[in-house]
Symmetry: C2
Subunit: 222 residues, 2 copies
DNA sequence: GTATGATTATATCAGTCGTTTGATTAAAGG
DNA sequence: CCTTTAATCAAACGACTGATATAATCATAC
């Protein structure tokens, strides 16, 4: 059995099972059973269970983020010396994930679910890994958005960008092949447009009135 | 040892550990160790590990949802025959969770984290339970929002409401006592206002242009 | 005091877990 | 061909898991 085959089979199986059951809920025996390989192969090829997860996450996230960054750079290049449009930036941020579904079919669904869940995955190391992959990129996108929305205070934008991440995370975690995405793959683009519309509006929202700390709690505010 | 004490201790410990490590990553021995009780007490008082989780989730969610519903009803009563404002509805939806942090301090943080994570928790039964608690209530809020936004198509609202849930889920899952929420509890109200502003704008966003399926992919759309 | 039910404590069961080990096999290189 | 390296295999280790059984203790009522 060729080594690239064994490793790939382990990675594929682990990807599926980690996405479905999380890190703690997935045993190495389940992985090796599904991959049809020997238990010790995991340790031979990857080391610890954590190392396996690192490998799974890395092979997913690195190409996606490369694509994400490339899209952003293209958007910026097309805008020239002007700031790029907010919608285009958001599209660059979101599209690579959603297009996984269209391009990879069922594996795309597995991956998006895995990505979406990794952010709130109970095992701390999963979260830490996930954030590590996104930190620099997030900063990059934050700055592009700040240029597109100079009138929104920076701290507010930082916070709102987290909400953008939250929405994307949630959508990814909730993908379901029997739902809208699975039925009609061209709907991915429609979904993208609607997502971008929602998020762009939220990012552009005027700041709410400053709170007044010395007043008792109020009911309705028009 | 009085039975209400033992049960409470188990529930408290389980709440903390499930929130931190998830269902699969938390063993009953860890729970009983932390609670300072005997292993058999779990089965005696609660039955299976799943039943314990049910009990933990139920004692958290039921009062919060009661409060959520009460706030919505108050908002509707104040609006009379008019539709209530979107902002007020969103506030009724979100405030009970956020106020946990202010009102319960560290336990509030634990609970919000638990709630936020339960939606994407890898163990399927956690998710199923979580959704079960929110299904009817979600429907109730959806209808209130639809009355506040009659110009947005119903199917689009349904979908956008899921994004609202996603944002809230993410914020809850990401609570960190060392962050903004923990430092200044009065900031919970500011957070609520900013959240509502973001989400209200997104919900009110005009529909994006319908997609054209027969056209090649476009770049920027102004 | 006794009787009864509730509760706790301990031991055990059967199984699972990640990791390691030494043996064996397969492939590559000289 | 032999030697070396890479890869695979099966067994074992020590630890842990949820659940159960049983006996002891506690609490309450009569």
């Amino acid at each position: 059995m060729a080594d690239t085959d064994t490793k790939e089979r382990i990675l594929d199986a682990a990807e599926r099972l980690f996405a479905a059951h999380g890190f703690a809920g997935t045993s190495l025996r389940a992985v090796t059973r599904e991959a049809g390989v020997n238990l010790a192969a995991v340790h031979y090829h990857f080391g610890t269970k954590e190392d396996l997860l690192r490998a799974v996450l890395g092979r997913i996230v690195i190409p996606i983020n490369r694509e994400r960054l490339a899209m952003l750079e293209q958007v910026e290049a097309e805008a020239g010396s002007d700031p790029p449009s907010l919608e285009a930036i958001l599209e660059a941020f979101i599209a690579p994930d959603l297009r996984l579904i269209r391009d990879l079919g069922e594996r795309g669904v597995i991956i998006t679910r895995f990505l979406g869940r990794s952010y709130t995955e109970p095992a701390e190391m999963v979260q830490a890994l996930s954030r590590e992959h996104y930190e620099e990129l997030g900063q990059r996108f934050m700055e592009a958005i700040a240029r597109a929305l100079p009138e929104v205070p920076r701290t507010e934008l930082y916070w709102r960008f987290k909400l953008v991440v939250g929405v994307l995370t949630y959508i990814l975690a909730d993908t379901d092949p029997t739902g809208a995405y699975g039925e009609d793959l061209s709907d991915v683009d429609g979904t993208l447009r609607r997502l971008v519309a929602f998020l762009a509006a939220g990012l552009r929202a005027p700041m709410p009135e400053a709170q007044r700390r010395d007043q008792p709690e109020e009911g309705a505010s028009s």
